[in-house]
Symmetry: C2
């Protein structure tokens, strides 16, 4: 099997994103290996040993995605027996010409705390995470005036991971509120605490089969997990979304990244962090 | 000001990562704009209108980072007045030659739920998020045998965002445990519930000044937030980390991405998700 190395003198997150996008073009089983913070010649030489060892073990050339700021370190890495890909190579010159500006590479500018010199943008993410935690699962309805968005849905439709992702990745204060049997599913109304914040609400749903599977992992054989109950709750909730003109999304086939990106695309919610 | 567009027929997360890394080379103030799920000719034409409008408004050519799978959509986008950068362009052919395999582009393979056809990897992330939430702030010490890692530190040193990031991004079950005054700071010991799990513990610290600032936002003027108390707690905790040989990190100058990547690099913790 091919070993894929993601190497950088920083977090290697950019090398990973770059490599992942490249590999997504090829239906290929691989082994992933990240070497982050390779910030000295010694560490770069150790990385080269690992690359060469992987080559000898498998007989297949490792693929190296790297994004080094230091040319000295880069030279060491590219001396390995791997096949090297550095996307910065190709684009810095044309972008520099377009911007009429010299590139001034600096380690840790991509995922560091002072992105574009703004610590505030970082702090706003941490604040958003704290907010989303404090407002998980309908736990703190008095703070909804501070929410950027309130996710709504029945139990186990992905509200919590989506809230946290919106907070961590975009600095968005995302609360979430669960619709439960207490809300009288037979004639479901928008819960009272949410009514003043209707314009911030976004609904999540799932296919009944998937909800049934997820709930069964929690409480197998329960009424809560039964196909009948799942189907009923989802039906009533979707009816309510439509009646109340609340935008909503069936998240069955989407990852948390996709759900978050779709919500942003549909709501024009402003990001506090790029 | 330049407008930077990130455009894709998927989440545009890859275009964003690519663009962010490119722009990190240039000290430049810009306006960011993401257009995700541009998956029809009509939407692509709307995107082109937005690009051209931004050009007319500012007099500066917008920079476009895009990653389209569909060539038809890409053709529409590149007909705009923006300056186009598509990193897939340059690397697919050489990687294809190295892998001796044709590229088979497919939308949503990068950030979709079925990454490399494995739904399990996605579910493991959601499980990890649920675990980390249930084990936030020392709330559930009976589940520590399931933890991949347990973050330790005094109040407000970044344990919670780091745990959630590890869970969301890497599928790592990260618990966290706060050291408080109840732990008798004067002669601080490793808390009892943690002792059987010593090999999984990772400590977080901060500089006293930064901790003082963060705590002051919460409870200004309190003893809890005072420089003296912050300095004292950090001192005692670091002594304890050293005595107990617990690896630790001063997170003052690092973003949550960097802290998480550093923890992974130091502990060789296995990722459940790439």
């Amino acid at each position: 099997m091919r070993t894929i190395f993601y190497i950088s003198d920083g977090t290697a997150l950019t090398a990973e994103a770059f490599g992942r996008a490249m590999l997504s073009m090829f239906p290929l089983k691989v082994e992933h290996k990240t070497l982050a913070f390779v910030d000295s010649i010694t560490k770069a030489e150790q990385a080269v040993s690992k690359i060469n060892a992987a080559y000898e073990a498998s007989g297949e050339r490792p693929i190296i995605f790297h994004t080094f700021v230091s040319l000295d370190l880069k030279r060491v890495i590219t001396s390995s027996k791997g096949s090297n890909y550095d996307f910065l190579d190709y684009f810095v010159a044309p972008l520099s010409a377009e911007l009429e500006m010299e590139a001034r590479p600096k380690t840790h500018r991509t995922h560091g705390i002072q992105e574009n010199g703004v610590r505030d943008s970082y702090d706003s993410r941490i604040e958003a995470v704290n907010y989303s935690l404090a407002n998980d699962d309908g736990s703190n309805i008095s703070d909804y005036d501070q929410a950027d968005i309130i996710l709504l849905g029945v139990s186990r439709t992905g509200k919590t991971p989506t809230s946290l992702y919106l907070a961590l990745h975009y600095g968005i204060k995302a609360a979430n509120y669960p619709l439960t049997e207490d809300d009288n599913m037979e004639s479901l109304q928008l819960p009272k605490p949410l009514r003043p914040h209707r314009h911030k609400i976004f609904g999540l749903t799932l296919e009944a089969q998937r909800l049934h599977e997820i709930r069964s992992k929690r409480r197998e054989g329960s009424r809560y997990a039964s196909m009948q109950q799942c189907r009923f709750e989802l039906q009533e909730v979707e009816k309510m979304y439509r009646r109340e003109a609340i935008p909503f999304l069936d998240s069955t086939r989407f990852s948390v990244e996709e759900i978050a990106a779709k919500i942003l695309a549909e709501t024009n919610l402003e990001r506090h962090h790029y």
